[in-house]
C-alpha cells in the first residue's frame, strides 16, 4: 500500500521517563488516521516528533519515503491541542500571516481565507482581535490557519475538544471534505465516537508503546474474534458447566424478555463454534447465538487494561 507517512522504531525519552518506546506505524495515503490512547500515553509526543518540534532519540520518520527535514515539514499542517494564536493580533491578519509563512502569496492567501471564513461563518470576525473570540471561534480560526494552504498531511491534536456538537459535526464534515480532496489526516483523540465515525485506520498507543495498529474494520473484527452473544434459558451455573473447557463467559448473564437470559462468551481460539453451539443447544435451551463486533471504545478499554 502507498504510505504517506512511515514511522520506524521511534523512541523518545525525557529526563526520567520514556515517552515513546520503539513505536512504528504506517499511515496510508488518503486515510483518516486516528491516534488513540489514554492521557499521557505519548500521542502528543509522537505528533511532535512527526512535526519535528521534538527530535526523536532513535528511529526515523519518513514523509513520502523521505526522511522529514525542516523543508518537508511545510507540507504538514499541524493544529496543536493547546491552541496557539497571537492574542493581540487581528484574526484576519493573523490567518494571513500563517498562510504566508506557509508560502502562499498575499492574493492567494486572502482569497482562500475569505472563502474559509465564509464557509465556517466567521467572516464578521476578520477584523476582530483574537482575545475577543470565544474558544470555539478561536479554534475555527486555528483550523483554517492549519488547512488553508492545503498541505498533503494534516495533523490535528484533539480537534473536537472545545466544540459544541453542532460545530464538532461541522468540523468533521470539513475534515472528510479535505480527505476527499486528497489530503491525509491524522488526529489524536480520546473521543471514541468520532473515531468510529470518521477514521478508517487507527493506532492505539498506551504507555509509550504502539499497542495496536490497522484499519478500523480489521481491528474490530480481530479484536472481536470469537466473542459471541448467547441467548438461552439456563442459569449461570448450568451455563458455565455447559461451556466449561471450550469457552469462557465474559459477563454475568442478563435477564431479557420472555424468561431468556443473555451472556457474552469468548470461545477459545482452537475450538470450533459448532461444538459450542451443540453443547449449548443440548444443555441450555439455546435460542440464538451471534458474533459480537466490539466498539472501538471496548477495544480501547480492553487494550489499555492489557486484556488484548
Amino acid at each position: 500500500m502507498d504510505n504517506i507517512l512511515t514511522i520506524e522504531h521511534v523512541s523518545k525519552s525525557y529526563t526520567g521517563h520514556k515517552a515513546l518506546d520503539d513505536v512504528s506505524l504506517e499511515v496510508p495515503r488518503g486515510a483518516i488516521y486516528g491516534l488513540l490512547g489514554p492521557n499521557g500515553a505519548g500521542k502528543t509526543t509522537l505528533i511532535r516528533v512527526i512535526t519535528r518540534i521534538t527530535l526523536a532519540d532513535a528511529g526515523r520518520v519518513l514523509l513520502d519515503g523521505k526522511e522529514v527535514t525542516t523543508d518537508e515539514v511545510f507540507h504538514i499542517g499541524y493544529m496543536p491541542e493547546e491552541r496557539g494564536l497571537y492574542k493581540k493580533m487581528k484574526v484576519g491578519e493573523q490567518a494571513m500571516f500563517f498562510a504566508r509563512l506557509k508560502g502562499m502569496s498575499r492574493r492567494d492567501a486572502e482569497t482562500r481565507l475569505r472563502e474559509w471564513f465564509e464557509r465556517l461563518e466567521i467572516a464578521d470576525w476578520w477584523g476582530r482581535k483574537v482575545e475577543d473570540l470565544s474558544k470555539g471561534m478561536a479554534q475555527k480560526v486555528q483550523f483554517i490557519s492549519t488547512v488553508v494552504h492545503e498541505p498533503k498531511l494534516l495533523i490535528f491534536d484533539e480537534p473536537f475538544s472545545g466544540f459544541d456538537p453542532i460545530n464538532a459535526d461541522r468540523l468533521k464534515q470539513e475534515i472528510l471534505g479535505l480527505r476527499d480532496r486528497g489530503a491525509t489526516v491524522i488526529f489524536s483523540t480520546h473521543n471514541m465516537a468520532s473515531v468510529e465515525e470518521i477514521c478508517d485506520h487507527i493506532t492505539l498507543i498506551n504507555k509509550s508503546h504502539n499497542v495496536l495498529s490497522g484499519s478500523v474494520e480489521e481491528i474490530r473484527r480481530e479484536a472481536g474474534g470469537n466473542t459471541f452473544e448467547v441467548i438461552h434459558r439456563a442459569d449461570d451455573e448450568q451455563f458455565n458447566l455447559a461451556i466449561a473447557g471450550i469457552a469462557t463467559p465474559l459477563t454475568e448473564s442478563r435477564g431479557i424478555v420472555g424468561g431468556y437470559r443473555e451472556t457474552k462468551i469468548h470461545i477459545a481460539k482452537d475450538e470450533d463454534v459448532k461444538v459450542v453451539i451443540e453443547r449449548l443447544n443440548n444443555k441450555c435451551d439455546l435460542r440464538a447465538i451471534s458474533e459480537v463486533i466490539p466498539s472501538i471504545n471496548d477495544i480501547f478499554i480492553r487494550a489499555v487494561n492489557g486484556a488484548l
Binding site: T54, Y86, L101
Partner: protein, 427 residues
C-alpha cells in the same frame, strides 16, 4: 529569508501600531526638553521671596555699600549691638538673620552671619563677595589715585576659554572646537539613551519570546519556519522598532538644529558675548556633526541591541514565564549597568585605560563608546570597537540560537546552567 522577513514585519507592525509606541516616541523627547529647560525656568521665575538680613556694621564702611539682590535685602541696624540684634531679629521676626561685621574686618571671625534658618551657598557667596570688593575698593581708595572708578572699569576683564582640537595643520579655521562641557552633556545624553534603549528593547525581546512560548504559537510556527528564523525574526523586528524610534528622534532633533535653532537664536546671537552659549548653539546647529553622532548611535545601538537581544531571547526561551526569567534577566543586565558606572567615570578622563578598554569589550562598548565619541576620540578606536562588537554579535547569536531551538519547546522545570551548556553542545 522570506519567512524571516514575514516574521520581522509582523513583530514590527504589531509594536509600531500600538498607542504606547506612538506616545513614547513623541512624548519622550518633549519630556526630555522639559527636563532640560525646567531647572533654568525654575531658577528664572521660581526664585524664592527676598529675605531680609539685619546688618550690624562696627567697621562703618560696609553696610551702606551692600547692594540688595533678588534674594536678600540688607537692612542697616548698626545702632544695635550684636546681642541686641540677635534678640530682636529672632526666628519669629521673619528675618533670615543678622550679619555682624566687626571693626577689624580682616581678623578671623570678624564677619559673622547668624541665621534663623539655613542660608544658601548663593547667599553666603554673594555676601562674602560684596564685602570683599567693598573692602578692596576702600583699600585702593587709600592710595589716593585719580579717576579710580574709570581705571577700575577699564581694568575689569571677562575671559572665556575657547578650546580646539589640534589637527596638526595649525589652521584655526579647520580645527574643531571642543568643549568638555558640551561633550560631557552630549556623552551623557547619548549613553543614557543607549542604556534606556538596550534595557527597554531587550526586555521586549524576552517578553515576546516567553509569550510566544507560553501561548504555544511556537508549535504552529515551527511547522512553517525554523527556530533560528523565528528568533532572528523577533530580534530584528524589535530592532527595527528601535531604529524607527531613533530615526524619528533624529529627524526631530536634526530638523530642530537646522530650522528651529537659527530662528530662535539668530537675533540674540549677534548681541550675546556669551561664548558658552555660542558654542552650544554652534554645536547643536552643526547639522552634519549631529547627523554623524546619530549615525554612530545607530551603529552602536544596533550592535549592542543584537548582542543583548540574543541573550534575552535565549533566556526567554529557557523559561515558562516572565517572572521565571528574572534571574537570567538580572545577570544579563549586569554588564549594562556596569557600562553606566564606567561611563560616569570617563567624564574625568575620556582616555583613561578603563575608558579605553571598556569601550573595546563588546558587552560594555556600546554605551561607553557612544559616551566617549563626543570628546573627539580617534576614529580608529571607534572602528575597532565596532568590528569587535559585530564579531561578538555573530558568536553570541549563534550560541543563543543553540539554546533557543531547544529551550523554546521545553516546558516545566527551569533548566540548570549545566543543561544550558548541554543544549549548546547537542547537535
Amino acid at each position: 529569508m522570506r519567512k524571516m522577513w514575514l516574521i520581522i514585519v509582523r513583530e514590527f507592525m504589531e509594536r509600531v501600531r500600538k498607542k504606547s509606541f506612538i506616545v513614547a516616541t513623541f512624548v519622550t523627547p518633549l519630556l526630555m526638553v522639559v527636563l532640560m529647560v525646567a531647572p533654568s525656568l525654575v531658577m528664572f521665575y521660581g526664585s524664592s521671596d527676598q529675605k531680609q538680613i539685619a546688618v550690624v556694621d562696627r567697621s562703618g564702611m560696609v553696610s551702606d555699600k551692600l547692594v540688595s539682590t533678588s534674594e536678600v535685602m540688607f537692612v542697616d541696624q548698626s545702632t544695635m549691638t550684636k546681642a541686641e540684634a540677635c534678640r530682636v531679629f529672632n526666628a519669629e521676626s521673619g528675618v533670615l538673620g543678622v550679619l555682624y561685621i566687626g571693626s577689624e574686618i580682616e581678623h578671623r571671625d570678624s564677619v559673622q552671619l547668624i541665621t534663623n534658618e539655613s542660608s544658601s551657598i548663593m547667599i553666603e557667596e554673594s555676601i562674602t563677595h560684596q564685602i570683599k570688593s567693598v573692602v578692596e575698593r576702600e583699600k585702593l581708595r587709600a592710595y589716593d589715585i585719580e579717576n579710580l572708578d574709570e581705571i577700575l572699569a577699564s581694568v575689569a576683564t571677562n575671559i572665556e576659554l575657547a578650546t580646539y582640537e589640534n589637527n596638526g595643520t595649525g589652521e584655526e579655521a579647520t580645527m574643531e572646537s571642543t568643549s568638555s562641557g558640551i561633550s560631557y552633556a552630549l556623552g551623557i545624553i547619548l549613553g543614557m539613551m543607549l542604556y534606556m534603549l538596550l534595557i527597554l528593547y531587550g526586555q521586549m525581546v524576552l517578553t515576546s519570546v516567553v509569550e510566544e512560548k507560553s501561548s504555544r504559537v511556537i508549535d504552529v510556527m515551527v511547522t512553517s519556519s525554523s527556530p533560528f528564523q523565528i528568533m532572528m525574526g523577533k530580534i530584528l523586528g524589535i530592532a527595527l522598532v528601535a531604529v524607527a524610534q531613533i530615526a524619528i528622534w533624529a529627524t526631530l532633533v536634526i530638523s530642530a538644529s537646522k530650522f528651529l535653532l537659527p530662528v530662535i537664536f539668530s537675533a540674540d546671537m549677534a548681541a550675546t558675548n556669551d561664548m558658552m552659549m555660542q558654542m552650544i548653539v554652534g554645536t547643536l546647529g552643526d547639522t552634519g556633526y549631529i547627523a554623524s553622532l546619530f549615525g554612530c548611535l545607530l551603529l552602536f545601538v544596533v550592535g549592542g541591541f543584537l548582542l543583548y537581544a540574543a541573550l534575552f531571547a535565549a533566556a526567554g526561551s529557557a523559561v515558562d514565564s516572565v517572572q521565571e526569567g528574572q534571574q537570567y534577566n538580572t545577570i544579563i543586565m549586569m554588564p549594562i549597568i556596569l557600562s553606566i558606572i564606567v561611563m560616569m567615570s570617563i567624564f574625568n578622563d575620556p582616555n583613561s585605560p578603563i575608558a579605553f578598554w571598556a569601550s573595546m569589550v563588546p558587552f560594555t562598548s556600546p554605551i561607553v563608546m557612544i559616551a566617549r565619541i563626543p570628546f573627539g576620540i580617534p576614529w580608529w578606536e571607534v572602528v575597532v570597537s565596532l568590528v569587535v562588537l559585530y564579531a561578538s554579535v555573530v558568536v553570541v547569536v549563534w550560541l543563543a540560537s543553540r539554546i533557543f531551538r531547544i529551550g523554546i519547546f521545553m516546558h516545566g522545570k527551569r533548566p540548570s546552567w549545566r543543561e544550558l551548556l548541554q543544549w549548546i553542545r547537542t547537535k
